[in-house]
């Protein structure tokens, strides 16, 4: 018994000694990121290169779940507890204001980042109260995928979309006209936002007031519902579908059009698995004369934990990862879009992406952020429920949106975000 214990202690001591011997570097920075797949590998390579250039900084990868909700919950728990680890946070675009208002991440302005090199929309989404809290790492946008083998041009209006989809579906015997993500989750809000913009509506106005019960919004939601039940352009089953189900159906050649994120393009071009390889292109979503083509802005940002012991070193890592070379490498290996417009003219990007960079750039320039507010997650939750009720015909669109708007106004008032646009901070940041 005693010898076994001694043995265990000895092993533990050896392990500690071994670790200590490996880390003579001055500073250790932790970085929570994807644990699996090509994404984790690219990051690993890039961080190794960074460490070779900066022998005094050691970057440790913290494995975190890929599912956005789970990752956010984990962050919120860590940051609430005031943990100094992890130093760097990979944020979804909709989290930046939330984390900034809570005082969980550092303003980056003191480091004087060159924000003019990034797409303006991606920078705007990372500002809160005029300060910049994160740098855009890669960008995601909602795109309209259309079949070049059955359509001659992408639809330029919603009416045109319905007409073309119906005609082609009948003529060529395709199962579905237009596919989007309609399950009750964040994806539904992004799809709604794109329709909303097309009809000239918004969720919050410039003053931060809720305007999602305005008439353009009701028209947009009514159009979405009618395209399912009246026009039969969109199959009712999308109300249970997320990205992957729509991608599978489109990939099998069952649909004329699909709304999806850029990741699908890479997979759709894979000739071994996709029946539509080489037979599709991307475009902006259509719009009515009252609105303009709208793409929902998504993507990942890099920010620094307010309690980090080494903000300067953390910033050095962020700067390195957002350099053009690193972005091009990510585009090549995992198909993620750079946040620097200058790269879209490069040959390297054209080789890396499954669709022409110029088209992508045009869509990104139409991209709008979701409401930039610290309570976005709650706003979205209210919207998801009411949109889904209207689309599953439990409520009329107008009724659903009026109820949603009431709940959203109450939420903003409770959070102290209506009169003064900015929350009061209990303690200093």
């Amino acid at each position: 018994m005693r010898t076994a214990l001694l043995g265990a202690f000895a092993t533990a001591a050896l392990t500690i000694a071994a670790c200590g011997g490996q880390a003579p570097r001055g500073i250790s920075i932790s970085f929570p990121a994807s644990a699996v797949g090509a994404e984790a590998e690219v990051l690993q390579h890039q961080l190794e290169r960074f460490m070779r250039n900066h022998p005094d900084i050691q970057v440790v990868q913290r494995k975190t779940p890929d599912a956005a909700d789970q990752r956010r919950q984990l962050y919120v728990q860590w940051l609430n507890a005031g943990a100094s680890d992890p130093d760097i946070l990979q944020l979804d675009v909709i989290w930046t204001p939330e984390f900034a208002a809570a005082g969980w991440i550092l303003p980056l302005d003191p480091f004087a980042p060159k924000v003019e090199d990034f797409f303006p929309a991606t920078v705007a989404a990372n500002r809160w109260q005029g300060k910049l809290y994160a740098l855009p790492w890669f960008v995601d946008v909602g795109m309209l995928y259309w079949r070049t083998d059955v359509l001659t041009h992408p639809p330029d209006s919603f009416a045109d979309l319905n007409r073309q989809a119906t005609e082609v579906r009948k003529r060529d015997g395709l199962s579905f006209g237009f596919l989007w993500q309609g399950a009750r989750y964040e994806g539904l809000v992004t799809v709604f936002l794109e329709h909303l913009g097309g009809f000239g509506g918004r969720i919050l106005d410039e003053e931060g007031r809720v305007v999602v019960d305005s008439s353009p919004a009701i028209r947009a939601l009514t159009y979405m519902r009618d395209s399912i039940y009246r026009d039969a352009v969109v199959p009712a089953v999308v109300l249970t579908w997320q990205e992957e189900q729509t991608r599978f159906a489109f990939q099998n050649g069952q649909a004329v059009l699909m709304r999806n994120w850029p990741y699908a393009a890479t997979l759709l071009q894979n000739r071994d698995e996709s029946r539509v390889a080489g037979k599709f292109a991307v475009a902006s979503m259509p719009a009515t004369p009252d609105g303009s083509p709208t793409a929902t802005l998504g993507g990942s940002q890099l920010a620094i934990n307010s309690n980090s012991d080494h903000p300067r070193a953390a910033y050095a890592v962020i700067v390195y990862l957002t350099q053009p070379e690193q972005m091009l490498e990510r585009a090549q290996l995992v198909g993620q879009y750079p946040t620097r417009p200058a790269l879209y003219a490069s040959e390297a990007l054209a080789d890396a992406l499954a669709v022409p960079p110029a088209q992508v750039q045009q869509i990104i320039e139409h991209a709008v952020p979701r409401p930039v507010t610290p309570v976005y997650a709650e706003l979205s939750d209210i919207l998801q429920i009411h949109l889904h009720r209207a689309l599953t015909r439990q409520q009329e669109p107008a009724e659903a949106l009026v109820e949603a708007a009431q709940a959203m106004r109450k939420l903003l008032a409770d959070a102290g975000l209506t009169q003064a646009k900015h929350p009061q901070h209990g303690q200093g940041e």
Partner: protein, 296 residues
């Protein structure tokens, strides 16, 4: 001497008492304390002030709370009724003696042994897609002309939910009732036969009255389980479409773990606790009387 023994007895039960206090009472009181505070992990700038009964008022005036309560009640009534009825039939079948009875009894228990999450995933798979098994069968057999999307109808979405729960827990009810059936003296049936009672009369006059305690036990277990139903619905419908199948437990989960509103979520948990407690008290009243009666 006696006093000393009593003291020793207290000392000996002390660790057990301490553990009960630690794992049952402390969290409960803590939740109670939380429920009178505003505590929103997401909005640290609002602090954690004492808000009195505000969280309870919010719950009781919130439409979604009452809808969730209604959904819970609906789920309890439909699933427990079906489970008791089918469980009784199953128990009667299992009670008869025939060849291979052991194997049949074991097989009947399989659904109950399966983890709920796995069972829920299987049922979702059966109902989910237009080309899923249920839709294929229904269109093939001519019940429906077109595939049906079950999970987007506020009413139809309950069908897979209730079916899955009935499938999963009927064996458990049957097991409880089987034990009850086996405790009935067979001579009672002989006597009834001699008095000229047919099989139906024997069932209503002998089996059912004597099975009552077992039926009540099954009823309690199933009701209290159904009040807390969470995993099955979380996997199958997620409470949708909209919130049309959202029970209290799922609403509370959503408030606590997705919106991270600890104060309000604690108030909801306390309400569920009170509801379960009240139901248990009512049942114990009814059942206790029945069980404590001599000869029952």
């Amino acid at each position: 001497m006696e006093r000393q023994e009593a003291r020793l007895a207290w000392l000996l039960v002390l660790p057990a008492l301490a553990i009960i206090v630690l794992i049952a009472l402390v969290p409960l009181l803590w939740a109670l304390w939380e429920s009178f505070h505003l505590h929103d992990l997401r909005m640290p700038w609002r602090g954690q002030p004492w808000v009195g009964p505000a969280n309870y008022m919010e719950a009781l005036t919130e439409a979604r709370f009452w809808q969730a309560a209604g959904h819970t009640a609906l789920f309890i009534v439909t699933s427990v009724t079906l489970e008791l009825a089918l469980g009784l039939v199953l128990a009667l079948i299992l009670h008869r003696s025939y060849r291979g009875r052991g194997a049949i009894r074991a097989a009947a228990l399989v659904p109950w042994v399966m983890p709920t999450v796995v069972a829920a995933l299987v049922w979702r798979f059966l109902f989910e897609s237009p080309s899923g098994v249920v839709n294929m069968l229904a269109t093939e057999l001519g019940f429906m002309e077109q595939p049906f999307v079950w999970f987007i109808h506020a009413t139809a979405a309950w069908v897979p939910l209730v079916l899955a729960d009935v499938w999963k827990t009927t064996p458990f009810v049957a097991l409880l009732l089987l034990a009850g059936l086996q405790s009935i003296d067979t001579t009672l049936y002989e006597a009834a036969r001699i008095d000229g009672a047919g099989p139906w009369r024997q069932f209503t006059s002998v089996t059912l009255p004597l099975l009552r305690p077992a039926l009540l036990v099954a009823l309690i277990f199933r009701t209290l389980d159904a009040v807390r139903v969470f995993d099955l619905i979380y996997i199958l419908t997620g409470g949708g479409p909209g919130t049309a199948t959202e029970p209290l437990a799922l609403y509370t989960f959503h408030v606590l773990f997705q919106r991270l509103r600890f104060g309000y979520g604690a108030a909801l948990s306390v309400l569920i606790f009170l509801l379960t407690f009240a139901l248990a008290l009512i049942y114990i009243r009814v059942l206790g009387k029945d069980l404590l009666r001599p000869g029952a």
